[in-house]
């Protein structure tokens, strides 16, 4: 990931996490995280933090592109069947 882009994504993710309800627990893999845990990981840019950044930017791209609202989304993204 380009360093400038990574910094932008990091700041965006931090802003989103700070606005998130503190009373949620996010279960990712083997562990359970509070919003503060996720925020710390993103700030440290550790493995979990990078995964969280990727989830947030992918989600925002889906919203921005309108693909989540597209009636044809299932056909455009044919469920990754092999």
């Amino acid at each position: 990931m380009d360093p400038v882009t990574l910094e932008n994504i990091k700041q965006l993710t931090i802003a989103r996490l700070r606005a998130t309800n503190k009373d949620l627990t996010v279960h990712i893999g083997d562990d359970d995280y509070s919003q503060e845990d996720l925020l710390k990981s993103v700030m440290e840019e550790n493995d979990l933090g990078r995964q969280v950044m990727e989830m947030h930017i992918d989600f925002l791209r889906s919203i921005a592109s309108g693909e989540l609202y597209s009636e044809e989304y299932e056909q455009v993204h044919p469920n990754h069947a092999t």
Partner: protein
Amino acid sequence: MSKSILITRPKYDPATFHLFDWSSIVIAEAVQKQFAIYDLSGQKAIRANLESYISKNKPGILFFNGHGNANCITGHQGNVLIQSKDNERLTKDAIVYARSCEVGLKLGLALISAGTKSFIGYRAKFVFVTSRVPVKNSLDDPVAKLFLEPSNGVPISLIKGNSTGDAHQKSKREMLRNLRFMLSSKATKDMRDAATYLSSNYKNQVLHGDPNAVV
């Protein structure tokens, strides 16, 4: 293929506690449809039991709950149940749904190569969000429901006689419906905040093998 389902549902950490509770809905559906049910719950979710039950009963559906990675699915306390290049042939001729992290990356493909009819799982971490607001059990958590009901949709659809392709698509459509709801003004703030993570499951749920396989 026999009308039977084997479920692994360990219960030893917060995530598996939730998956354990939500799997009970699948079991109720299987009871209603008169399936033979092999429930490896809690401490019973270990490899020796899994191998014994599969070899004796050859269940048509294998529904795994628990942790995992690109190469394995685990049970009670991280006990490895299925591992690449080890016991891949164990699931031969069955339909597999694994509610586990990253198993759709490599393990699912390896199982298909070893004779599993069809495999549904996740290419990335399986993620779900729960409220910290006290609830009687996980089934009463309105945020968890948005994640775990669509994933339950896979085995429930299979039990109802649908193909793996249909079960996979139905589950994804349900996730998409929930995502749209979570982004709407009807959703609570908790639900809106959780949408990011459901989107990840939606994009990473994969089907390998025969999409026409049925039980």
